[in-house]
């Protein structure tokens, strides 16, 4: 049995020991912090500017081809792509090339089509669609001239098929241009075809006088 003052002496001693171990604990934390900092400069721990994750297309030695991203497996479809909508995604209706557009062609669609055409098609087919783009002039053989009777008569589904899967020497753009944009481009190609094949009868009567007196 301990007397009361004895007991207090013991706990005082205990408290002294406690604060000593607290001191040890703190200093070891500081020591570890210093060690961590030292390791950091040698690159073994994370550095904020170079975090252990891959940026898009960052190299990786995990896969044989040195890429961190996996290639898209062929015939992959867009998430939630309705496979039954063959008109929008394949340009076909019941296995036949489509003759109609899958959505209404508004002014906005036409503007979009013009912009996308000038990005993706004009380098080869030319801004007019006559097959005389800059790349063709540099020696790329024979981008089609859209102003032939055959292509004027071809259904829109044929154009969609050509753009999506390529045709002869023409590369495919199905991976690059989303389906709706492909349709917008085709609408614009149709407009180009009209623009180079218009007759006087296509001019609205109230606009005819604007053409001057050179009417044949």
């Amino acid at each position: 049995m301990l007397r009361r003052d004895q007991r207090r002496a013991t706990s005082d001693e205990q408290r002294g020991k406690d604060s000593f171990s607290f001191f040890i604990l703190c200093s070891s934390f500081v020591l570890v912090a210093f060690l961590v900092a030292a390791c950091n400069s040698s690159g073994s721990l994370q550095i904020m500017g170079e975090q252990p994750r891959y940026d898009p297309y960052e190299a990786s030695n995990f896969y044989a081809n040195g890429m961190s991203a996996r290639p898209v497996i062929s015939d992959t479809v867009t998430f939630m792509q309705p496979l039954t909508n063959t008109l929008l995604y394949e340009g076909t209706v019941d296995g036949e090339l489509a003759t109609t557009f899958p959505f209404a062609i508004t002014d906005a669609v036409m503007q979009r089509g013009q912009q996308r055409y000038n990005i993706y098609c004009a380098p080869c087919h030319g801004a007019l669609g006559n097959g005389q783009g800059v790349v063709a002039q540099r020696g790329f053989c024979c981008p089609a001239n859209f102003h032939s009777d055959r292509l004027r008569a071809a259904p829109v589904g044929h154009f969609f098929d050509v753009v999506t899967y390529g045709f002869g020497r023409m590369p495919s753009y199905g991976q690059v241009i989303p389906a709706r944009d492909r349709w917008a481009i085709i609408a614009y190609v149709r407009a180009l075809q009209l623009s180079q094949h218009a007759t006087l009868d296509d001019v609205p009567p109230d606009q005819k006088n604007k053409l001057g007196n050179t009417t044949p």
Binding site: M48, G49, A59, I119
Partner: protein, 216 residues
């Protein structure tokens, strides 16, 4: 007791104490200039690539739009790098015997990607997004310079935080009409500040200087 130091040392000591301020300021200034110098920021230093791909030829001489190759720049944080197939769209026929294109053909044959060296790179603790800038009227040339004049790609801006903030504090200084974003010839008009202010209201551009905008 005899004087140890001559009277003139009084002046000397004053000069040294005073001079020390200048020396310290000078060193700090030199460090400041150094970290902003092209030596550190790599500004204006052409980056050597496995294939000497020239934006000057492809963009300026051939008139190919940025989006033909950097397809995701409008819709994603990442601008997108052209896969080898994109090069082969044209080079399946053009320059097929050129020795500089050998790595491209090797890549197409073996399915191993071409390893381009990064030109612009932010540390991983910074979040950057192309799509918002492009869709709010910040043009490619504002950040990447006259790309169409670069035989080899180089950094046109320091990419330091002050550079981002300079624009984020007052975007009116730099924004342009949306149809000019991809233009290589657009120059700020004489009344850029006023025109910019109008665009800022029209496109609902906010001044984003909160740390969590870029550090998230």
């Amino acid at each position: 007791m005899a004087q140890i130091f001559h009277r003139s040392t009084n002046t000397l000591s004053r000069v040294t104490i005073f001079g020390a301020v200048f020396i310290v300021a000078g060193i700090l200034g030199a460090v400041g200039i150094f970290v902003r110098s092209p030596y550190v920021t790599r500004e204006g230093v052409p980056v050597v690539q496995p294939v000497p791909f020239s934006h000057k030829h492809h963009v300026n001489d051939d008139g190919i739009d940025c989006r033909y190759c950097h397809t995701s720049v409008e819709v994603s944080s990442f601008a997108g790098m052209p896969p080898t197939e994109t090069c082969m769209n044209c080079h399946s026929q053009l320059f097929t015997t050129s020795p500089v294109l050998v790595p491209v053909f090797a890549s197409a044959r073996t399915d191993m990607p071409i390893q381009w060296n990064r030109v612009n790179q932010l540390p991983d603790f910074v979040y950057f997004d192309h799509s918002i800038h492009v869709n709010k009227g910040v043009g490619c040339t504002t950040c990447h310079g006259q790309v169409d004049q670069m035989p080899l790609m180089m950094r046109a801006a320091s990419l330091q935080m002050t550079w981002c903030l300079d624009c984020h504090r007052d975007p009116a200084k730099y924004v342009r009409p949306l149809d000019q974003v991809f233009s290589m010839t657009w120059q700020p008009p004489a009344d850029q500040l006023e025109a910019g202010k109008k665009l800022v209201t029209e496109y609902h551009i906010e001044s984003k200087t909160n740390c969590s905008t870029c550090h998230r």
